[in-house]
């Protein structure tokens, strides 16, 4: 067959995000011959300004223009580069809440996933990622969220980040530094341990080959066939089920996608809360978690313009008052109602996600409570982001937000996707066993966000990485 190159290795890791890079490092440092296949380009973290349109062009899948279809569109972003989501996210870090792990164990018959079981894996990853709180004052926009929560009597926390604070201080005294993404940590370490990385390489299909696997891929217009004894699929909550389904593995695959649907509110304060180096706000309100949570978003002028797109006459305020504005979000723990399916041989799957009326009611409740919090924090005006919204200047105007958002009027977005191949021993609902091995399919292991049984209600990277480390060690027979 023309243009077909063949290679052999011991273990293939498909995907280099938080799941794939932890897997690759664990295996490589124990002497396994590991090849990482990554669809996106190999770029340094510093190749673009974070949260910029250059980053969209360089590191987002499909430029960030991916919607999940349903009664209303849900826009989401997904990375497509070496390091995966860790290269573009806020590096906010949580361990999995104990209540979520308990729910997973009970509903999915999940083994070896107690807080005690996972603790050593969290600890080991946190050390590598330099996880910690800011060694100085958080951004003002973030403090406003904590201040408002305090006035409402609600619980808020400062979330740790995987971040090295070693670059001085911003204009408001906020410490600056470098995000500890996968290219800075686990990918680099895996390569130092002998792992190989093939970027810009798209895996199209997996085929059984004896006791192992043949991976069919394309790179630079050429076809490659790579043989391996074991394949770890770590391509993320959308690409992993897409690849498995394309390869004829469909049982409980791509039927239960979950996410954290999110709506935005812009707050305008009398005092300045925003500036050129605002960075990443770190406070979150957990009073209503896991069902509803609040946080503060990236609030640069391009994102403010986007969040205020429902207010067409606001150019003046945006130009003159952007330093007084910040974007906040209300996030819900969404249901596992998503479907991921291939569309012919196209690289992107079709995604359907249904938000029920109770979900839309929760989003509305979140938007109302978040607006009340921001007014309590001293906002002179808040701008909810949904079609037909009006600016709100006082608590008596909160009733203008509908009690249930209408799906096609609510501008719902998400950056967290998971649960498309849930793990557990319950074969009626799980795609893999408790340590990621695909049920009934030898030597094929899923090790990424797809495994999470349900939406965890917190930033998922910590959970993904702890599970990835545990599953890789289990594969090696060390657990």
């Amino acid at each position: 067959m023309p243009n077909l190159d063949t290679l052999k290795t011991e273990v293939i890791v498909i995907g280099s995000g938080p799941g794939g890079s932890v897997t690759a490092r664990v295996l490589a440092e124990r002497g396994k011959d590991v090849l990482i296949l990554e669809e996106g380009p190999d770029l340094p973290l510093e190749s673009c300004v974070p949260f910029s349109i250059d980053e969209m062009r360089q590191k987002y899948r499909a430029g960030g223009l991916n919607p999940a279809m349903g009664p209303g569109l849900i826009a989401f972003v997904e990375a497509c580069c070496v390091g995966g989501g860790s290269e573009i996210n806020s590096a906010l870090y949580h361990r999995t809440p104990d209540t979520i792990l308990e729910e997973w164990r009970e509903r999915f018959d999940l083994k070896e996933t107690s807080p005690t079981d996972l603790s050593p894996h969290f600890h080991a990853n946190e050390k590598t990622l330099s996880v910690g709180v800011m060694p100085g004052p958080p951004p003002l926009a973030s403090l406003k969220l904590a201040e408002g929560a305090g006035r409402m009597g609600w619980r808020s926390i400062e979330v740790p980040r995987s971040f090295k604070y070693d670059s001085g201080f911003g204009p408001d005294g906020v410490p600056l530094g470098v995000r500890q993404s996968m290219t800075k940590t686990f990918v680099a370490q895996a390569l130092r341990c002998g792992a190989r990385l093939m970027s810009s390489c798209r895996v199209r299909q997996l085929r059984r080959s004896g006791n192992g696997w043949s991976v069919l891929a394309t790179r630079g217009g050429r076809r490659i066939e790579i043989s391996a004894g074991t394949v770890f699929v770590c391509a993320g909550a959308l690409q992993t089920p897409l690849l498995l389904r394309r390869s004829g593995i469909t049982r409980n695959v791509g039927n239960s996608l979950a996410m954290h649907p999110t709506v935005k509110v812009v707050a305008e304060f009398d005092e300045e809360v925003n500036h050129e180096q605002l960075g990443v706000p770190v406070h979150q309100v957990k009073e209503f978690s896991p069902r509803i949570g609040f946080g503060c978003s990236i609030s640069s002028p391009p994102y403010l313009a986007l969040a205020l797109a429902d207010y067409p006459g606001i150019a003046w305020q945006l130009r003159e008052r952007w330093r007084h504005m910040a974007i906040y979000y209300a996030m819900i723990t969404g249901p596992c109602t998503g479907r991921v399916r291939p569309v012919f041989d196209l690289p992107d799957p079709s995604i359907r996600y249904h938000l029920s009326d109770p979900d839309l009611r929760d989003l509305s409740t979140g938007m109302i409570r978040l607006s009340a919090l921001l007014l309590a924090a001293g906002a002179r005006r808040v701008y909810p982001s949904y079609r037909g919204a009006m600016p709100i200047s006082g608590k008596d105007e909160l009733s203008t937000i509908p009690g249930t958002l209408i799906a096609d009027r609510a501008h719902v977005t998400t950056i967290h996707l998971f649960s498309s191949c849930p793990m557990g021993e319950d074969t009626s609902r799980c795609a893999t066993d408790s340590v990621g091995r695909v049920h009934g399919v030898p030597n094929l292991i899923v090790n990424d966000a797809s495994l999470l049984c349900t939406a965890p209600g917190v930033n998922p990277q910590g959970t993904i990485m702890a599970l990835a480390r545990r599953n890789a060690l289990h594969f090696l027979g060390e657990l």
Partner: protein
């Protein structure tokens, strides 16, 4: 032989232990950009450009030099994003854009040939339309154009927004 982007060639059946580094050099920006078609701009590109100019024009306020035309960079960004979209979504957007362009008033007048105030009226009528796809169409282009407009050097904060908080 397998040619990598960096120009290194790999022979067939090469054991991985002997495989040279396949990515020693990060790709250049032009390698990351989705190539624009070599043909001359057609109705689709003209319409997208006119929409971008209209959205950008709506953001002009006195004294804001960075928000003044030309907006070719805004158009280039929006067209680039369209080319990056999943194909099964890009084609419906292309069709909707052509329908939008042809549906301008007076009959037979293409959107990009309308006077600015007429363009505004047309976009506004779709923005507040009772038909969801029309609203989604305007929101799609408006969102991308606003992102690009407010990312221009010299626009509030963005020119200097070189934060080290990666």
């Amino acid at each position: 032989m397998l040619s990598s982007r960096s120009g290194i060639s790999l022979p067939n059946e090469l054991p991985l232990k002997d495989m040279p580094e396949v990515n020693p050099v990060p790709p250049r920006q032009e390698e990351l950009d989705v190539p624009a078609p070599s043909r001359r701009p057609g109705l689709f590109e003209d319409t997208v450009s006119a929409i971008c100019y209209e959205v950008a024009r709506s953001q002009i306020i006195r004294g804001a030099q960075a928000e003044l035309p030309p907006y070719n960079d805004v158009t280039a960004f929006v067209l680039g994003q369209w080319r990056r979209m999943p194909r099964f979504l890009a084609w419906p957007v292309w069709i909707a854009t052509i329908v939008f362009a042809l549906g301008a008033l007076p009959p037979g007048t293409l959107f990009h040939r309308l006077a600015p105030n007429k363009r505004f009226d047309r976009l506004e009528s779709w923005r507040v339309s009772r038909l969801g796809p029309r609203r989604s169409f305007v929101r799609f282009y408006r969102s991308l154009a606003l992102l690009a407009v407010y990312s221009r050097p010299g626009t509030p904060a963005t020119g200097e927004c070189r934060t080290s908080t990666h």
